[in-house]
Symmetry: C2
Subunit: 712 residues, 2 copies
């Protein structure tokens, strides 16, 4: 990878003397950004660009050039790469477009590219990208002309799916005082993808903060693994969230699991910080460029009362405690005031104070206080009268923050031009809004907290039944893609998820016998392939109190019409009677289940995400999921903390400890069931979806009442 | 009021020749901003500032100057204002601080100021403010020196509580191409407050958009009345939200009703748009400066694929439909492409198009389409190579938006300096982020929709019982500040809020008789003054099925200890048995109530807000309110639409029509009960709080089961 970011020699392929030629821009960028290695140039016609002779064939090049950059029409690229291979080139950047997934030719070209790369052991960036900028080595390969003075060298690195957005981020980070180390536009990611670049940046000694802009995630599990191992903050700006949940899925879990929520869950789980947009991405990076926020205690200093009020509002909104100054401190500060109008409370309103040197003194006094974890300073000044003093103040702030290794989030307010010029003058980030500064501090605090919190390893659980037996059930479903209820319950039990006592019976008579063993009250459920939503189909009878009722219920179910028109209501005993589409075929029999009284109903779910693999869902019973959309996701395998956090994330979970004198539900047992479900999904890739709905949480333990398992 | 904003003559009081004198700044500002009326100057010492002689006494001034501006130490202000009164001055601006509410002297000075003003019929701005800027007349009165070239004349007016924030907003609106008409910093609002300024700005022909920054709201009802009557968009940035809910209130409704939520509710009700912070305030104003968004159909144009994806995400997030281009349109656009790589879908990705004139043509084609309501255009350009063409493009966008009277939200992306210079070059707002542009369009669309929607008058309802009778109940409570349950139920019934059948009984024997009339099953509730939370105190027994049980329940209640230690559990029949603090005193008897089966429980509440007066609350039964905080507020009197909207605002209301085959609940009856509660609160200012919890919503009608009324 290092040969891409720090090559000793580069050949640019697709260059001509024409002023509109874009290959030329690449050469110009390299020169302008101070690249110090060898530059070779190849094009169709002979000529000279920037003093470099254009060769007309790759064969003319010396052997073993570190990196080739190709910007020629798509159909020519595979052969050119092959020629590169022959010349000993093993790293290639392909900037050309035209490999799109939508055209057959594009697909075929992509396959050919991959084949050539395999043949020579070539690793490549792109195609369809503006590729790579390394501010540290001057490797600046975009085909659009960049201006050196608009970009600043720094310690933020950016990986982006889009060329345009790569340029935006390099510009933004340069203009806010942070600066760029590496920037990568990945394009179609035919070979190298975000995980490869991320792995490189995690080791890169010039990178402190990593920003990912992704439209798709190729290998979610590996991304999470890398993020978990990272000591550097990783910020994620994931776009392309709209189309995700376009197709309607069959089961609850799948319908609710829109990919974007899984992205958010995975980011949280792996310690990545998800940014809402460009602005928050830059804002969070500013926060991380300051010393870490190690606690919750804040001092806010403002030169205007109005902004002091905003600072107090925002401190409350982001969960900071405003430090209470001791009396001696207040006396000291008050001594520095020109007038005594404003009280030295927190936020400190310094509106009456015109000598900025006193600000510095006050700031230092605040930073000296051991309990103070961070300072927010809102500083309005007149560019006409106070410019010099204000610039001196900001430099002093920077020095003090470094001296005490504490974050000072500085919000200067003045005319736009002045603020821009201040930012240029500084190597220290400033914030444009008090709420943005407060959010950046909060994000830094939360990451620090998380890093301090011990996180266990994913829990590994052995099933109670031999895996081979379970595999047999899972490979011979009797209901098509969906396991029959008794099979699903067996699989749950096999993984140690307790199920309410049940039995099967092939006839009414046998049902009566089974009922004697189980005891009343009972639920009767029909066992039939092709019926996935039993209740919609009239295949469930609840609260059967005695033998007579049981017999009648069995007969009713057996006498149900084999085919029924969609939407015909059934006269049965329970309320779910709207039937979308449910022809009854021959039932295989009955399942009897002991009714459970009391307890709180929750839903456990699982599905497989194309990027992240097995995903576990948790939510409270029907209404909470449907009305409040109150569910949490995590990517399997789960740690115990993951399971606990996902329960805590669901608002309705506040009901579990019991409110208003209710008996508490066994949250630990839910954690256990979630961990077991996670293991099940991991052990059996054949499972596409699981729905345990409801799982009844009792005062002691849980009991699954219904389960649905869909195979791929 | 016009004499404050457009005076023919001004006297500035508190001026000296000293360079640090702040009164001088006022004179300098007036001159700099081109004020064309007479300027008089008064100070302690004789002298000359900017050619104006400083007079040492107000008596020397000519009679009848339009406006006096006072900036002298607080204790001198009342006498100076008195002298102004003698000279026939009737409008005063007081910029001096020191009238704070925290000191006794400040309070006294404030009272004296008010008295002097009353004596002469003077209306005044401030004190403790930087006062007024009118860009139209050059009346620029702040005591801080402002730079004329940093402020732009425009059609936005700002009213703010804080001087610092007034300056921020004038700067912000000037720098984004909108410009300022009037700006007012109100200070302590001893006389004129936000409603006075708002009333003036609503009539002001130079103001199109009104921005309010408030830390407190003096007269919420009048503010809402003015806002309702406004044809101009009113944006509200309300800060000082943190401390609101500091004290713990007795009843549910009061505890949940944090003032800030009432502010949000009132804003929505009156059609004001609440901004989260400075940035959204400016952003929304940009949106309102464009032609209105009359519908939901949007075209997004982007020069980069990455931003096109963001635009699609944001269109979905803000509820816009992306227009589907007909084939002819696509062909036409495709013809203009240099290459055929990118598909002309919506968002239109014009990444491959370098000739900006074609952008203009495409934009015009889009605007011509009748179904298209708005266009969002993300335009990245190189300041080095494309600056001129980009500026031409933005001017063309402005012209086309005007020509077709449709909003085009333009998001230019380039280097920061270039964007700043572009903004200066334009009289047209541009947006910095795609999501901000989309949000501004959405806010404009929502306001347009609201203006089109017919809104009825507040509903007026006559009580079923004579008001005098109800007044008697409300003025002779037997339970201290809290009405006893039977009184509260009578008041509800008196206003036509149906109550589950009930009766009172003074003894067990009479309870048995009453039960015969009511029928079983019954609930028994103790009637005792001083017991507000009956269930916590063991004063409720539910589900009494027969006479025997009733007798036992009566006896149990009577035999309860008169005093019980806090926290002692009671062995009674219902589950709410944790007793915080509830000494039993002599009961006045029993209340029997018919048990209701079925239905959905909701909560109706009412309280009095110090700014807005009577406020009505709606939420679903206990768990939803407590766990999901899922409640809505509106300020009384309610229109039918208000009541409907507040029900719709509560997420849990989705349960009311019945989910999964449940019977629907009577939402219309809830609307009716809300309107009746609104009327009750209005008719009887003595009522501080009402809690109807639960109100059971049946398939037909509602029934209140419990009610609590607290008097002031």
């Amino acid at each position: 990878m290092d040969k891409i970011f720090n090559p000793n020699s580069i050949v640019v392929i697709g260059v001509s003397e024409r002023p509109t030629n874009m290959g030329r821009n690449i050469v110009a960028n390299l020169l302008d950004f101070g690249y110090r290695g060898e530059i070779h140039v190849v094009g169709q016609r002979e000529g000279v660009v920037f003093g470099h002779r254009i060769r007309t064939s790759i064969e003319e090049l010396p052997q073993g050039i570190d990196l080739a950059v190709i910007l020629t029409p798509a159909p020519t690229v595979p052969d050119l790469m092959d020629a590169c291979g022959r010349q000993g080139i093993r790293r290639v950047v392909i900037e050309s477009g035209g490999f799109g997934e939508f055209s057959a030719e594009g697909q075929e070209l992509s396959e050919r590219l991959r084949a050539v790369a395999r043949k020579w052991g070539i690793r490549f960036v792109g195609p369809n990208c503006i590729s790579v900028i390394n501010m540290d080595s001057g490797v600046c390969l975009p085909f659009v002309r960049l201006q050196r003075h608009t970009l600043k060298k720094g310690r933020v690195s950016v990986v982006s799916q889009s060329g345009g957005i790569t340029i935006v981020y390099t510009g933004l980070f340069s203009s806010v005082g942070l600066g760029i180390s590496k920037a990568i536009s990945m394009g179609n990611k035919l070979d190298l993808d975000e995980t490869d670049y991320l792995a490189y940046l995690l080791e890169d000694k010039n990178t402190d903060i990593i920003c990912l802009h992704l439209e798709s995630i190729e290998d979610g599990q590996r991304l999470m693994e890398l993020a978990r191992s990272s000591s550097k903050p990783i910020l994620l700006h994931k776009t392309n969230v709209g189309q995700a949940s376009a197709h309607i899925a069959q089961s609850h879990t799948a319908a609710l699991a829109n990919d974007d929520r899984i992205v958010s869950a995975a980011a949280r789980q792996a310690g990545m910080i998800r940014a809402r947009n460009f602005r928050t991405m830059v804002n969070y990076a500013k926060g991380f460029s300051l010393p870490p926020v190690k606690g919750n205690t804040l001092v806010a200093i403002s030169r205007s009362g109005g902004r002091a009020v905003v600072a107090a509002d925002m401190a409350a909104a982001f969960g900071f405690d405003l430090y209470s100054f001791p009396r001696e401190f207040r006396e000291k500060v008050k001594g520095g005031f020109r007038a005594k109008v404003i009280e030295p409370t927190n936020p400190l309103d310094l509106g009456d104070l015109f000598d900025f040197r006193i600000y510095v003194n006050i700031l230092e006094e605040c930073l000296k206080i051991e309990d103070v974890d961070a300072v927010l300073m809102a500083h309005a000044y007149s560019s006409l009268l106070e410019r010099k003093a204000a610039h001196r103040l900001t430099h002093a702030v920077q020095e003090l923050a470094a001296k005490y290794n504490k974050p000072v989030a500085l919000c200067p307010f003045s005319e736009s031009e002045e603020i821009l010029s201040l930012k240029k003058d500084l190597e220290y980030p400033t914030f444009s809004e008090i709420d943005e500064a407060m959010e950046a501090l909060a994000v830094s605090r939360d990451r620090y907290r998380r890093l301090r919190k011990a996180r266990g390893e994913p829990v590994s659980i052995s099933p109670l039944r031999p895996k081979d037996e379970l595999r047999r059930i899972l490979t011979s479903p009797k209901g098509g893609d969906t396991l029959m209820l008794h099979q699903a319950l067996e699989v749950c039990q096999g993984y140690g998820i307790p199920v309410a006592k049940w039995a099967t019976a092939s006839s009414s008579e046998k049902a009566v016998e089974a009922a004697k063993r189980l005891g009343y009250p009972l639920a009767l459920k029909i066992l039939s392939p092709h019926i996935s939503h039993k209740s919609d189909a009239g295949g469930i009878a609840l609260g059967i109190e005695d033998e007579k009722s049981l017999k009648r219920a069995c007969e009713e179910m057996l006498s149900l019409p084999r085919e029924r028109a969609p939407g015909t209501p059934l006269s049965n005993r329970h309320s779910q009677i709207s039937i979308p589409h449910s022809p009854f075929s021959t039932p295989h029999g009955f399942l009897l289940q002991k009714m459970i009284s009391g307890g709180r109903e929750v839903i456990l779910g699982g599905k497989r995400d194309p990027s992240f693999g097995p995903v576990v869902m948790f939510g409270l019973g029907g209404v909470y999921v449907e009305v409040f959309d109150d569910v949490a996701f995590r990517v399997a395998p789960l740690t115990r903390e993951d399971a606990e956090e996902m329960i805590a994330e669901v608002k309705g979970s506040r009901l579990l400890p019991g409110i208003r004198g209710e008996k508490p539900s066994d949250v630990e047992a839910v954690v256990d069931s979630l961990l077991r479900l996670s293991q099940l999904l991991q052990d059996f890739p054949a499972i596409a979806e699981v729905d345990i709905n409801p799982l009844v949480v009792l005062e002691k333990g849980t009991l699954a009442v219904d389960a649905r398992i869909v195979l791929k």
